[in-house]
């Protein structure tokens, strides 16, 4: 356990060295937040409510989604695939540790850094300029933080599998692009799933993608309160377990391949 803690700490620390990247990222995320906010305002000029969101909900959603971008880190995380390509993965395979847990720990460390450094600033700026909604109950805040941690775990479990595809595919960025399209469309990042046509929305709400954005945002907006919030957290945790298990199965296949075919 101590190892995974140390790994997480270094995952956090690793990103603290890229200060310029952090600043540039905050700037971009905030600017895009403004653009998206104005689109929302234009939309709510015509209507007062869409899918149960009022204008304050929509603005809050916008800046939450912008803040959570780097927690989910759905585009451009290739840390595992790169070691597979270079062959350095072999060194990790003969180390006495759990390979998946090792990367999960590292990524949770990273996600914490990004939640704080890349998440809070855009939201605070958005809060100062627009009328956003803040939960009053501490319980909601706790549920929200747990939900973010679970979102990070689900996102890792998915990215881990996409990265592992590099064992079989020369161009691992192919599945990466496909996955990114699914994540963007179905997670509630681009548009809240609540805005989807009802039937489609109901199906999408069962898929793991909503665990990345829609669920934490809905908890924050108290669209799911009390046992509803608990259920949402269970939903996320359930998908996290299923996806992590699928990743382990894929990893075992990759290991067999390396061990028999030499990579």
């Amino acid at each position: 356990m101590r190892l995974y803690w140390e790994v997480a700490v270094r995952g956090f620390r690793r990103y603290t060295t890229y200060r310029a990247a952090t600043l540039a990222g905050i700037f971009t995320n905030t600017i895009f937040g403004f653009m998206r906010a104005y689109v929302m305002l234009a939309l709510f000029d015509a209507v007062t409510e869409v899918g149960g969101y009022d204008v304050a909900d929509a603005l809050t959603y916008t800046f939450l989604a912008q803040g959570l971008i780097m927690v989910a880190y759905l585009w451009g995380w290739w840390d595992v695939a790169i070691t597979i390509r270079s062959g350095d993965v072999v060194t990790d395979f003969y180390r006495p540790f759990d390979y998946q847990a090792y990367w999960l720990a590292q990524d949770l460390g990273r996600a914490l850094y990004h939640a704080v450094a890349r998440g809070i600033p855009p939201f605070v700026v958005g809060m100062l300029v627009f009328d956003v909604r803040l939960p009053l109950s501490p319980l909601v805040w706790v549920a929200f933080l747990v939900s973010i941690a679970l979102a990070a775990t689900v996102s890792f479990a998915m990215r881990f599998m996409v990265n592992l595809s590099a064992f079989w595919l020369l161009d691992y960025r192919g599945p990466g692009r496909l996955a990114a399209a699914l994540w963007t469309a179905l997670s509630g990042f681009a548009v809240p799933v609540a805005f989807f046509p009802e039937g489609i929305g109901a199906v999408v709400s069962l898929l793991p993608f909503v665990a990345l954005f829609e669920v934490p945002v809905d908890i924050f907006l108290e669209r799911q309160s009390g046992t509803g919030a608990a259920g949402a957290l269970l939903f996320q945790a359930g998908w996290a377990l299923v996806l992590l298990a699928a990743g382990r199965w894929m990893l075992a296949a990759a290991r067999r391949k390396v061990v028999i075919q030499g990579g």
Binding site: E6, R14, D88, V90, T91, V259, I260
Partner: protein, 332 residues
Amino acid sequence: MAIITVQDLEKTFAVSRRREGARGLIGRLARETVQVRAVDGISFAVKRGEMVGYIGPNGAGKSTTIKMLTGILVPSGGTVQVMDLDPSRRRIDVARRIGVVFGQRSQLWWDLPLADSFALLRHIYRIPEQRYRANVAQFTELLDLGGFLQTPVRQLSLGQRMRGELTAALLHDPEILYLDEPTIGLDVVAKARIREFLAQLNVDRGVTVLLTTHDMGDIERLCSRMLVIDHGRVIYDGDVQAIKERYGGERTLIVDLEEPGPPIDVPGARVVKVDGPRQWLRFHRTDATAASLVAAVAARARLLDLTIEEPAIEDIVRRIYEGEAAWEASTA
């Protein structure tokens, strides 16, 4: 007591490639599977504390053998016993007791300072605090790491990184150290420093070392025994000194005479080159001794200076690879 025992070891890779001379869409898509026998029936044993050079030309099967010894690859045939364990079945148990350096790969964390990589390894291998501190201190001194312990690995020079890699492989006090081209790309000074370190490591800690290299200087400085393989088979296994005597028995006496003259005719040697007053006499150790030759030369001309060139292991090995002599697998 053998710490490594390899018996009839084999590894066959299935490589799929495009059919030769294929035409048309179907022909282009149809691929054939070719079996590459990377390791083709290798047997040897290494005693505890030995330092063995494992050499052979590119593609001979050296890295493949090392991967099977570490448990990363499962053999297609034969058996491997490392510290009485089968590495591919007991990979983790073996991993705790061996150190590996692949010169072409890194086991350090690219973004982290060297010291941080060491700290992570401490937790991975659960190295007791005291042992860890003592080892880091010792290796820092021996390999002069002090100046760059806090530098991120990606900023290290190759020589610095390799010193870091060696330390990383040794922090958990492994009994065996596998080195796959640890001096690749290093300058003369850096190579010398690593050789000194390895020699001392072997003496001080009794670590068993299996060393793969293309630099015969590594072998000459470090190994008393060498295993030469080619096409996945052992073609020589024995003493480095013995191979020199047996296959490199030809030495050269270089003499500087007072005046240029015709090639000197002495029994047991022949002049292979003349350059002004300097002459090169080649002789086989069974035909003459250096002392008798020097006396014979001195009797025929005024001798100012002389040197004797030993056969370079490099030349011998090159000749082995080229198949110049009829080589058979021989055991010492």
